[in-house]
């Protein structure tokens, strides 16, 4: 099942570190417990978002890939 979100970061076409940077900036602007969807094409992001969620404590709720686009759903702590 695909989680529906209202907040989104489009980091497609961007390389390290911008997907993480843009995600950090966006998650600072949403409320605790709210969901943020991130789209990225950087293959390294699959590892980076897992690590980043462990470092920051924001939960990685969902992770998927479709047509070379990675989708991450994070819940702000």
């Amino acid at each position: 099942m695909t989680v529906q979100t209202t907040h989104r970061v489009d980091a497609r076409g961007l390389a390290c570190p911008m997907p993480i940077v843009k995600t950090a900036q966006a998650i600072a602007g949403i409320g605790s417990g709210e969901l943020l969807e991130v789209l990225a094409t950087d293959p390294g992001s699959t590892k980076d978002f897992v690590a980043w969620s462990r470092t920051t404590g924001h939960e990685l709720v969902e992770q998927s890939v479709e047509d070379g686009v990675y989708r991450f759903v994070l819940r702000r702590k």
Partner: protein, 186 residues
């Protein structure tokens, strides 16, 4: 023993590390990072700023201590010559200041190397050092100038981009390290 009879595996001969624990052990955590930025090279400026912005994005408090060649990337874009006497001026003539004029530590080829590196970076969606510097400042990365280098190179605060911390010395850096902040020398 012929070659064919030799064991094909060295299993058992080399001490193997113990199996990794299923869960990563909780390591000592640090929420600070210090980078002593000395080189000023294009590729090392890139690395420094990528680490600094990623660390800031991970909630870490990041300081970059600027020393020696690390100053020239942070000279204001419009400033071409820095220094007061001829030797100090010569340093900036031979080492063009500004984040858009960095040289590579190898394969510089009079600017051909950096030109290609920047072109490749653009093609692959990699932010430029100038863009990353703006991101770093917006995310609160602290840039601490080394007072001794400023004096030696004849650099004034007006030569440098705005928003730098008060100049300081090695003791300031070492105090952070003494309290456990991981430090990188780049």
């Amino acid at each position: 023993m012929t070659i064919a009879e030799r064991p094909t595996t060295t299993e058992g001969a080399i001490p193997q590390p113990e199996a990794a624990p299923a869960e990563p052990r909780a390591p000592a955590r640090s929420d600070e990072l210090l980078i002593i930025f000395e080189s000023g090279d294009l590729e090392r400026t890139w690395g420094t700023l990528i680490l600094a912005t990623s660390a800031a994005a991970s909630g870490m408090r990041v300081s970059i201590f600027l020393t020696f060649w690390g100053f020239y990337p942070l000279v204001k874009p419009g400033v071409r010559i820095t220094g007061e006497n001829w030797m100090q001026k010569m340093l900036s003539v031979l080492n063009r200041p500004g984040i858009d004029h960095l040289r590579m530590s190898r394969l510089n080829f009079a600017g051909m190397g950096p030109w290609m590196a920047k072109r490749l970076a653009r093609q692959h969606g990699v932010a430029s050092p100038g863009e990353l510097l703006e991101v770093a400042r917006a995310m609160g990365v602290r840039l601490i100038p080394c007072q001794m280098t400023m004096d030696m190179f004849g650099l004034s605060r007006d030569d440098l981009i705005d928003g730098l911390e008060e100049p300081a010395g090695a003791a300031t850096v070492l105090e952070q390290i003494a309290h456990g902040t991981p430090a990188l020398f780049i």
